[in-house]
């Protein structure tokens, strides 16, 4: 059944969940002026790799990533997919840990971390257990419920902006960021949530071109996530903040609303999207592990996975270690971001060649 719309919504929603927290401050660390440049570069990279990835997948009908790589032999498949599995698990640990920390910083200062992490893991574990089609439907429902709130907050967040902070648009030596650490860190929002496309093929079909077109919706959103705090505070102030977007939303004063701090709703709306993201990644990880251990029921794998992630998150001591872990994960991230799509594409091309030769 064609589920293009659901896939698009899922992509947008999971990206939304990731982009408003750590990303703005990473971009502001990357450059002082011309923030659009690293954003655009990051986005174009993302677009190119998504295009490659989906193209590669399109060569195979109803095969998921594992099937595709298995056509090249068991060793190659293991070699290619093992780092991916590690990456997925690490993403889960980092996301759960980082978001619980954000919630304690911003919202529930007295609640112990483990309690929040337990919540942030229980619900995704349940979501992951219900299976991919159900995840998509959950995504749709959440989008219908929470996207209006999120869009409303984004719209009103222009309340305190000063357009003069847009300038200067560019300075001469502003291309040096590509190899810098914050830039590589900032790429994370693009990497996490398109890889799942490779795992949904057996049950869900989608229109590749429509997805690529729809992914342009992300660009303005990503730009807003950086530019709204920038236009509200200016680079000098905004770069000092841990979560610039949150504070920018915090400054909005709407007198006719019944609620005072709408950041709460915005932030937590995002957290629900993150739960969905974690659920999705857990499901993908589950698929990978299940292939290695076909005897064990997928429900149990997911449950064990949840527990492992919970335990691992408990071991991360402080915010600094989160950042360090985040940085270490960059290697895997770049691998997952570039090598996997490339390999998929190559496998696809090879299959197409074989087909051309054999008949």
């Amino acid at each position: 059944m064609d589920k293009t719309l659901q896939v698009i919504v899922m992509c947008i929603v999971t990206h939304l969940g990731l982009m408003f927290f750590l990303f703005p401050s990473d971009v502001m660390e990357t450059v002082d002026v011309g923030h659009w440049l690293p954003i655009l570069v990051g986005y174009l990279l993302h677009f190119a790799f998504v295009a490659l990835y989906t193209k590669g997948l399109a060569y195979y009908d109803r095969h998921d990533l594992i099937d595709i790589f298995l056509t090249g032999g068991r060793t190659i498949a293991v070699l290619l997919l093992l780092p991916l599995a590690v990456y997925f698990i690490m993403v889960n640990i980092i996301t759960v840990r980082a978001y619980s920390e954000i919630i304690t910083i911003v919202f529930l200062s007295n609640t112990p971390l483990w309690a929040i992490m337990a919540l942030l893991l229980t619900i995704p574990t349940y979501i992951a257990m219900t299976g991919i089609e159900s995840i998509f439907r959950t995504g749709m429902l959440l989008a219908i419920l929470f996207l209006p709130i999120v869009l409303f907050v984004i719209c009103v967040s222009f309340h305190n902006t000063d357009w003069h902070y847009l300038f200067p648009l560019l300075e001469r030596d502003s291309f040096n960021f590509i190899t810098e650490r914050p830039f590589l860190k900032s790429l994370f929002i693009f990497t996490g949530s398109f890889l799942f496309l490779g795992f949904v093929r057996p049950t869900v079909t989608y229109n590749r071109r429509r997805i690529l077109i729809a992914s342009w919706i992300l660009l303005p959103l990503v730009l807003l996530s950086v530019y709204i705090p920038l236009l509200t505070f200016g680079q000098d102030t905004a770069s000092m903040l841990q979560f610039p977007f949150i504070l920018a939303v915090d400054t909005i004063d709407i007198t006719w609303l019944m609620f005072d701090r709408i950041t709460g709703f915005f932030l937590l709306g995002m957290v629900t999207f993150v739960m969905l993201f974690v659920g999705l990644v857990m499901w993908a990880t589950n698929r990978l592990i299940h292939r290695c251990m076909p005897r064990v029921r997928p429900e149990w794998i997911t449950l064990m996975l949840g527990m492992v992630i919970f335990a691992a998150s408990l071991f991360v001591r402080d915010w600094g270690s989160v950042h360090r872990l985040f940085w270490w994960n960059s290697i895997f991230r770049i691998y997952a971001f570039s090598v996997i799509p490339l390999a998929t594409y190559l496998f696809g091309v090879m299959k197409a060649r074989k087909l051309q030769v054999s008949p």
Binding site: I116, T130, S134, R137, T138, L141, R261, G264, T272, G279
Partner: protein
């Protein structure tokens, strides 16, 4: 006469049966039937008329009698018993040892077609299903004039036979759904179906689901609409509702009668119901979250008012809310049980006396009363009583999470509910299928 004897033995403990020697025209016969189910005098009259009309067609007496109904083999006790239980009369002709089951005038055990009692309709078709399966089927056929309407009839149950009709539109219905239902009916024929839990067991549907797998409706109009959307409809004898399979989320928001209004109103009615759903499941949780975990969300003026209203309330917001919710649920349950004439009393006791007293005794804050009253009203905007029950249950999950995590709990409760709702499927068709698929 083995069959007559066997019948007598079979019904030895049932004084309802009569064996009455009589004549049709000049032929001596014995009428056998159940007094409670048939009207003997009318039946006799009809039989005589019928026999008179057919007098010339048959050569002998037995032949004439055979013209009047279906003959039963002398050894076939089972079909004789079934005929009797379903309200037919058996005519026994002693000389030729013939048993004939004839249609009898039945005693009026069914109410006539009435207005719906559980789903009121404003300015729409008003006839509602009643207990008689044939009447119900007729009403559906009246409403839907189509040669594509297929009816499959089943009689299930080992101890008590229940008639079940399966209705669907040949060109609309999902083939997988149809084969699944028919397969279940064929393989579980021996299970008794006296209530819907048993029906669910027969159909192999999960028995612990918080969302009912059927849509229940007592309106032929709605039934036809669901048929046209490719769903299957079950009619049970002695059950004044049509059961529509599978249920979907949309049925919570949409009533067929909406379409009898201009589009704008249709849309606004449905939006209103959506708001009702959200209000009902979120309002109590929001109160607890805002009052006890995240008061910074409120404007200061509101916060002060809320604090004022809670002054002197002895227990935490969660307990307060739970107590009042419990009372409310009891009022609702009680008013369902009560006869219509005493119903208003409970409204008064529950609403005025209890509500007023509980506030002035400072047991709960008056703001909470307002919120819960609004939430309860919101619950009844949802279409279908069964749907409103499941929503009632979800509220508690969200309430508990909100008490622990505040607004975060509220929203993650929503995620949980959404995930649950999305994971429910009936015969492989998801409950939360939003896109309506039209076939043919």
């Amino acid at each position: 006469m083995p069959l007559l004897h066997e019948l007598k033995l079979r019904f030895a403990s049932d004084d309802d049966i009569f064996f009455q020697p009589d004549h049709i025209l000049h032929i001596p016969v014995v009428f056998i039937g159940l007094t409670s189910l048939l009207d003997l005098i009318q039946t006799k009259e009809r039989l005589t008329k019928d026999a008179f009309a057919k007098q010339g067609l048959a050569a002998d007496d037995a032949g004439l009698l055979r013209q009047l109904g279906e003959s039963i083999d002398t050894g076939d006790l089972r079909s004789a018993v079934t005929s009797l239980l379903s309200g037919k009369m058996i005519v026994f002709h002693k000389p030729s040892e013939t048993f004939i089951a004839v249609e009898a005038a039945s005693k009026p055990l069914t109410r006539s077609v009435e207005e719906p009692s559980d789903e009121s309709v404003i300015h729409g078709p008003r006839s509602a299903f009643n207990e008689d399966i044939d009447t119900n089927l007729g009403m559906v056929k009246r409403q839907l004039n189509s040669d594509k309407l297929a009816v499959k009839s089943y009689a299930v149950g080992a101890n008590s036979r229940t008639r079940i009709n399966l209705l669907y539109l040949e060109n609309q219905v999902e083939p997988a759904l149809l084969t699944a239902i028919i397969g279940r009916f064929e393989s579980n024929k021996e299970l008794d179906v006296c209530n819907l839990q048993q029906l669910s067991r027969m159909l192999g549907l999960p028995s612990w689901a918080a969302i009912s797998p059927y849509i229940r409706t007592e309106l032929p109009q709605d039934t036809v609409h669901y048929l046209m959307r490719g769903k299957a409809v079950l009619l049970l004898d002695r059950f004044p509702c049509a059961l529509v399979l599978p249920n979907d989320l949309w049925s919570m928001l949409a009533v067929q009668n909406d379409l009898n209004y201009p589009r704008l109103f249709t849309l606004s009615f449905r939006l209103l119901r959506l708001a009702g759903v959200l209000c009902h499941i979120l309002a109590p949780g929001l109160y607890v979250a805002v009052v006890s975990v995240n008061p910074e969300i409120l404007r200061i003026e509101m916060a002060l008012t809320v604090a004022q209203s809670r002054l002197g309330v002895p227990y935490p917001a969660l307990v307060e809310t739970l107590i009042l919710l419990f009372v409310l649920e009891m009022v609702m349950e009680a008013s369902v049980r009560l006869p219509k004439s005493i119903g208003p009393t409970i409204t008064m006791v529950g609403g005025i006396i209890l509500g007023q007293a509980v506030v002035s005794a400072k047991l709960v804050s008056n703001l909470l009363i307002i919120i819960l009253a609004a939430a309860t009203i919101a619950n009844f905007t949802i279409s279908g009583f069964v749907n409103s029950i499941s929503i009632r249950l979800f509220k508690y999950v969200i309430l508990l999470l909100a008490a622990f995590y505040g607004i975060l709990g509220l929203l993650s409760g929503m995620v949980l509910v959404c995930a649950y709702v999305s994971s429910v499927t009936t015969f492989g068709i998801p409950y939360a299928q939003l896109a309506r698929k039209s076939r043919g």
